[in-house]
């Protein structure tokens, strides 16, 4: 996994609550056996018209948001299935961070394991940032992991919480399996003790 320290990027607001993983990556694209090739299908059913052309109404297709790498959305982002194809699709499209008032449990875990930072901010802050992104073309934010803050163009900083271990893993691009395997003697001892 690529290490994440800080990121400055264009912000796109997706003003919906409960964005589910079936919308992030519809099931017809889950049949690949590789980890790649999902970005073009991100939000497929919202992003494309029946004939396959981009849906001009959908926010990601507005030219002013081309190249966006920070997504702002509503509560309970990523609810639904455990498919890791959802963070893969977001990451392969180019997103580095997602800002929302809350995230679904499994989705948030899956993000950390793929170097995408899910940042929980108060609903009022999310509303303010979303408004600013709508109002100001080219609106960019800086997401700082070391400092645990989201910094606005005017210098206002909003801090956020992240678990110490998740932060450590993201900052160092840690191989979690390697981490667990360093305790292999503990695992073996547990198995022996429990006759597993």
């Amino acid at each position: 996994m690529e290490a994440f320290k800080e990121h400055v990027g264009l912000v796109v607001p997706l003003d919906r609550i409960n964005v589910d993983t079936d919308q992030i990556i519809p099931k017809q694209f889950l049949k690949r056996i590789e980890r790649t090739g999902f970005g073009e299908f991100l939000f497929n059913d919202w992003r494309y018209l029946e004939n396959g052309d981009p849906n001009p109404e959908f926010v990601l297709n507005h030219p002013r948001y081309t190249g966006a790498s920070i997504l702002i959305s509503g509560v309970n982002f990523g609810c639904g299935s455990s498919r890791e194809h959802a963070p893969w699709a977001l990451q392969q499209y180019g997103f580095k961070a997602i800002l929302a008032p809350s995230f679904a449990d499994i989705f948030r875990n899956n993000c950390y394991k793929n170097g995408i930072l899910p940042i929980t901010l108060h609903a009022d802050v999310i509303a303010t940032l979303s408004k600013a992104a709508h109002k100001t073309e080219g609106y960019r934010l800086m997401v700082d992991l070391e400092e645990q803050s989201v910094v606005c163009p005017d210098g206002t900083a909003h801090t956020y919480e992240i678990g110490d271990f998740e932060k450590y893993c993201m900052l160092n691009g840690l191989d979690e399996i390697g981490w667990t395997l360093q305790y292999e003697t503990d695992i073996t001892a547990f198995e022996n003790q429990n006759r597993l």
């Binding site: 919906r16 890791e84 499994i106 899956n110 678990g163 667990t180």
Partner: protein, 467 residues
């Protein structure tokens, strides 16, 4: 110290726990299917790692298998490739596989309990969010992503934070026509689709105790639809009777010894949950969803809500979006809504008791001319049992299609999908936009309600229909 069942299972599986590290939790059983595993096996190969405990790992094919004649070649070549990849991976890493031709094949959350793999007190994971189903037998079971699948394959452990505990107590007696599906839909309607976010729910109370194991699975199955990490129900005599004699369950003295251990699992009297919600079973009515998530649900006697009456701007917008997608008008009585399709199946409601209940409703009746209806048993074993009881004849005579086992139109990864604009009464677990097919409109209901809807062509109050 008095402990909840979750805390007991958690403590018994801690391999390593220190203040400044994420705890390492041992996993007793890892269930694997074709869709979320290929990249995990590839990861093992790239890092030259082995599967630590193939003997604690079980695989089947369910998500994208066709439910039509299994002797014919699979037309969807990409799906076939995914199944073939699972077979190769299982062969390479020595993992038992119930493939598409196996008499034990079926939806992973149906065959786990059916084979006796699911047992009280176990930690069980699978790359599927409906793994919470297995909690019905008093296991701690939850869905994981592909990176975590790889982690469990390599280490038989997971790095896990401890969850909050949430007791949902349902007391009283369920009224006639009200099912386990209505209990869980009603709970999600109460607490919302993020009402249990990250928590481990334990369902308690006399109404839960009175449920069969298969009904308990329906309740636990949809815990994730309230955002919960897991759902569980304490084991009792009903549980032990269910497990006895299953293929992988302990036998003879070992079984008696296991039961003695399992009896230690229920939450201690006086143990504290982080939260508790109490509901009265007598107040629950048959449920029907009207929107695009399982929390958008109402009594069958209710109406499509008015966005203007929603509490917040976000809710109002979400309701407007949902009604536009579902092509429904505020104030429409649920029983005025007609459907094009009926789907009876999925890990929520495809077990033998579900099929019996649905068959009882359709017996001697016909599917409405305007409706296409199908039954997809949860496993080949369920299918065989149903056929032995003549249920397939009841369904076929009524005009239902009778299919082979799999996830089918719950998520429409195989050819079983809704066409754009089609409306479906479905016994599955998710009514997200496009879930059953792009542009398809899903209403979640119980098997009895789905069966009655197939007959009348529109939603009907099962309490009046059956009386």
């Amino acid at each position: 110290m008095k402990k909840t069942m979750y805390e007991k299972i958690w403590d018994a599986h801690l391999v390593r726990s220190s203040a400044d590290e994420v705890p390492i939790l041992y996993i007793d059983t890892h269930l694997v299917h074709e869709v979320t595993s290929p990249q995990a096996f590839e990861g093992l190969r790239l890092n030259n790692r082995k599967v630590r405990r193939p003997d604690l790992t079980f695989a089947t094919m369910d998500h994208n298998v066709p439910t039509t004649d299994r002797s014919l070649p699979i037309k969807d070549l990409i799906a076939a490739k995914q199944m073939e990849t699972l077979a190769q991976n299982c062969s390479e890493f020595d993992i038992p596989l119930y493939d598409i031709n196996s008499p034990e094949q079926g939806i992973v959350h149906v065959i786990g309990p059916e084979l006796g793999i699911t047992q009280p007190g176990k930690t069980i994971v699978c790359g599927d969010s409906h793994t919470s189903t297995h909690g019905a037998l008093g296991a701690l079971a939850f869905g994981i992503g592909t990176s975590e699948i790889e982690h469990v394959l390599a280490t038989q452990c997971l790095l896990q934070h401890k969850s909050e505990t949430f007791e949902i107590r349902v007391d009283g007696t369920l009224p006639f026509g009200v099912t386990a599906k209505d209990i869980i839909l009603s709970i999600i309607g109460h607490i919302g689709i993020d009402g249990g976010n990250g928590a481990v729910i334990e369902y308690t109370g006399s109404a839960i105790r009175a449920l069969s194991i298969e009904e308990r699975m329906t309740v636990c199955n949809m815990s994730i639809e309230a955002g919960a990490r897991a759902g569980m129900i304490a084991p009792d005599d009903t549980t032990y009777e269910y497990i006895a004699g299953k293929r992988f369950s302990p036998k003879d003295e070992a079984f008696d010894a296991a039961v003695e251990q399992w009896k230690q699992l229920p939450t201690d009297d006086g143990a504290k949950y982080d939260r508790t919600l109490i509901l009265d079973a007598a107040e629950i009515a048959p449920q029907v969803t009207w929107g695009t998530n399982p929390g958008m649900v109402t009594d069958v006697t209710g109406q499509v809500p008015d966005p203007a009456e929603m509490a917040s701007t976000d809710e109002k917008q979400a309701t407007e979006h949902a009604l536009a997608y579902m092509d429904l008008k505020p104030g429409t009585p649920m029983t005025d809504i007609s459907v094009d399709r009926v789907f009876i199946g999925s890990c929520t409601n495809s077990r033998i008791s579900d099929l019996r209940a649905a068959a009882e409703v359709v017996k001697g009746r016909k599917v409405a001319d305007t409706v296409n209806a199908m039954v997809v048993p949860g496993s080949q074993a369920v299918k065989r049992q149903a056929e032995a009881e003549g249920l397939h004849d009841v369904f076929r005579t009524a005009g239902f299609e009778w299919r082979e086992a799999g996830c089918s139109m719950c998520l429409g990864m195989n050819p079983d999908t809704l066409m754009p604009g089609q409306r479906c009464a479905s016994t599955s677990n998710r009514n997200f936009e496009g879930r059953q097919g792009k542009g398809g409109r899903t209403h979640l209901v119980s098997p009895q309600m789905a069966a009655a809807t197939a007959v009348t062509g529109r939603f009907v109050d099962i309490r009046e229909f059956s009386s």
